[in-house]
């Protein structure tokens, strides 16, 4: 308990003190806005002011959620939904119909008229009064009153150092006795804020839905962008370069010997660029995936692998998003095998059973691969998660490393 008090006391004091700093100005602002709003309601100016007062819970709620970090607990997430359409009107409409808004308003009223005064009282009783009692001898020594006595914390009158010392001892006892209640009060105070300001079950659920949907949209947009880039490069730069290479080839046929060497050098250069561009485009989005599907694309990835790969794949066609996610996961796995594993061989197995696509990539390397260590696997797991798929990496030290992915999906 003593350890708890020592650890939590600064946080509790910081939390309560900053609560006072929020609550006191808020009282002034709310009173001014409320009175003005009511007074001006007949002339219509007041109505927006009243709405403003109603919505005042929003910034206060946000601030109060942030302030909870002072108690060393993670702040609760924002309970509000994102408006479906832009514009102030849509935003205000949504906010006024949300229960979270009204909970925040209730909290704001509570904070303004009850909580912060209570915080002040608690701080005063638990810290200021004992503090003043402990300081009694000092106060007595520096007193300037004619009678030579001092009034401690406006409560007790003392006139001798004996009394002052007694007062100090009593102050220390009181301080120690009150520290634990102070910490407990701050905890309760934070719990109340959390209760009113954190999202309810339904709000959290909805929030998660929103996030899931937006993540799926992002992945789809990313895929579409990939294809667009691939197509643009293919239709533009690649065709032009082939055409240039052809022109150079024809020029070389008729070139005088003096030019032949320089033309040949230029031609080599052009062909090298072509080759690099081809590989780049293939990396962005392999055509074989769209034309022949996952099985052939995996064979193609195996062909390109640095480490020899044995393939055991028997798969139908799936939706494009599924094929792409599985393909890029396997390619990343093969790249990792080539880079880190020290493997001599790798195996890819792919099956579709019971409505689930399963692909496994195994190697005979040294193992010890850590998926959390920022390889590209994290992003791939995200892509799979959008499709309700899972990715797992099993890599004990000494190997073998097995990466397996599973996606529930219908076949095309």
């Amino acid at each position: 308990m003593i350890r708890t008090v020592v650890r939590e006391l600064p946080r509790a004091v910081a939390y309560l003190l900053s609560g006072v700093l929020v609550g006191a100005p808020l009282l002034v602002v709310l009173l001014v806005v409320g009175i003005l709003g009511l007074a001006l309601a007949p002339v219509l100016v007041g109505l927006p002011l009243l709405a403003l007062a109603v919505l005042s819970g929003l910034p206060v709620g946000a601030l109060e959620r942030r302030r909870l970090t002072l108690t060393r607990t993670p702040p609760p997430p924002d309970p509000h939904a994102t408006p479906a359409e832009p514009g102030l009107a849509a935003w205000a409409r949504l906010r006024l119909t949300e229960r979270a808004t009204w909970r925040e308003l209730a909290y704001t009223v509570l904070l303004t008229f009850a909580l912060w005064p209570l915080d002040v009282t608690v701080l005063f009783v638990a810290l200021v009064v004992p503090g003043a009692m402990i300081g009694a001898p000092v106060q007595l020594a520096t007193t300037s009153s004619a009678s030579g006595d001092a009034r401690i914390a406006k409560l007790w009158l003392i006139d001798s150092y004996g009394q002052a010392l007694l007062c100090t001892v009593a102050g220390i006892v009181l301080l120690l006795a009150l520290l634990w209640p102070l910490v407990r009060y701050a905890r309760a105070r934070a719990a109340l804020a959390r209760l009113l300001l954190a999202p309810s079950e339904a709000e959290a659920e909805r929030r998660l839905d929103e996030v899931t949907r937006s993540r799926a949209r992002l992945v789809a947009a990313f895929e579409a962008e990939r294809r667009r880039i691939e197509r643009d490069l293919h239709d533009g730069a690649q065709q032009r370069l082939v055409s240039l290479s052809m022109a150079l080839g024809l020029a070389r046929l008729d070139a005088p010997p003096a030019l032949a060497d320089r033309l040949a050098a230029a031609h080599r250069e052009a062909d090298q660029v072509l080759g690099e561009l081809r590989e780049l485009i293939h990396g962005i989005h392999p055509q074989v995936l769209a034309d022949y599907g996952l099985a052939d694309a995996l064979a193609d990835a195996a062909d390109r692998s640095v480490v020899p790969v044995e393939l055991d794949v028997d798969l139908p066609r799936f939706a494009e998003s599924v094929e792409a996610a599985a393909y890029f996961a396997v390619r990343e796995a093969l790249a990792n095998i080539g880079r880190h594993s020290g493997a001599q061989r790798a195996w890819i197995a792919g099956r579709y059973t019971g409505g689930r696509l399963r692909v496994e990539v195994r190697d005979d390397g040294t193992g010890g691969a850590d998926p959390a260590r920022g390889t590209g696997l994290t992003g791939l797991a995200d892509r799979l998660a959008v499709l309700d798929g899972t990715l797992s990496v099993h890599s004990p030290a000494g190997g073998p490393t097995v990466l397996s992915l599973e996606i529930p999906c219908p076949q095309r």
């Binding site: 052809m246 080839g249 024809l250 081809r278 485009i281 055509q287 390109r304 020899p308």
Partner: protein, 217 residues
């Protein structure tokens, strides 16, 4: 100069179409029809009965593999029609589909990048038109990379020879490429066929097909 060929060309990029016509004409062939989509290609072959079809893989409307599909369709209708497919990418699946038509004779699968090597391209065109098989070196390289185990028994030199044979080159062409005598090439090929357990074949073409079949297995 070999006999002039009547060629139907299908390529959706106008730039490349003009370029290809230029190259083919330069080597004495006649492009009787140049089209930009798969449907017109099939129609053009029907009306011109060319000696050779040269087609891009990726063409409208879908810009996926319409050109290749058309080529397969043409080969299915007439297995004796020589077809040379140009692809922007090495795709083993494309090459495999092509080699499965007819009996793998008179087909070619080349990377578009090779067109710039105009003499080699012209040579490939003539070889396919004459009933040979031309497979892009890049495809062969991938096939070789995949088949480790029995190939491990081959010496580096034998591997070089095997790659060239798989591309459809004759003994003479392999000898020229590696700057050795034709007899030496013949000896290498004998050794390779023995090591890979392939039937000995005198005829270049049959041998190419055997090697390709082996590599694709």
């Amino acid at each position: 100069m070999p006999a002039a060929l009547k060629i139907v060309l299908a390529e959706d990029s106008v730039l490349l179409r003009e370029g290809l016509i230029g190259v083919l004409t330069r080597f004495g062939h006649e492009v009787v029809a140049a089209v930009g989509d798969a449907e017109s290609l099939i129609a053009a072959v029907r009306s011109y009965a060319p000696d050779l079809v040269v087609t891009d893989v990726r063409m409208p409307p879908g810009l996926t593999d319409e050109g290749l599909r058309a080529a397969l369709e043409l080969r299915a209708a007439n297995p004796a029609l020589p077809v040379l497919v140009l692809s922007q990418y090495v795709q083993r699946a494309y090459a495999a589909d092509l080699l499965d038509t007819g009996d793998g004779t008179g087909v070619g699968y080349l990377l578009k990048d090779r067109i710039g090597q105009v003499e080699q391209f012209a040579e490939a065109v003539e070889r396919v038109a004459a009933g040979g098989t031309v497979v892009d070196p890049e495809v062969v390289r991938q096939l070789l990379r995949r088949r480790r185990d029995p190939l491990a028994a081959l010496t580096p030199r034998e591997r070089e020879v095997l790659a060239l044979v798989a591309e459809g080159k004759s003994n003479g062409a392999v000898a020229r490429e590696l700057v050795v005598t034709e007899a030496a090439v013949g000896k290498h090929i004998g050794n390779i066929l023995g090591k890979l357990d392939l039937p000995p074949a005198e005829d270049t073409h049959r041998r190419v097909l055997a090697v390709l079949a082996y590599l694709r297995a």
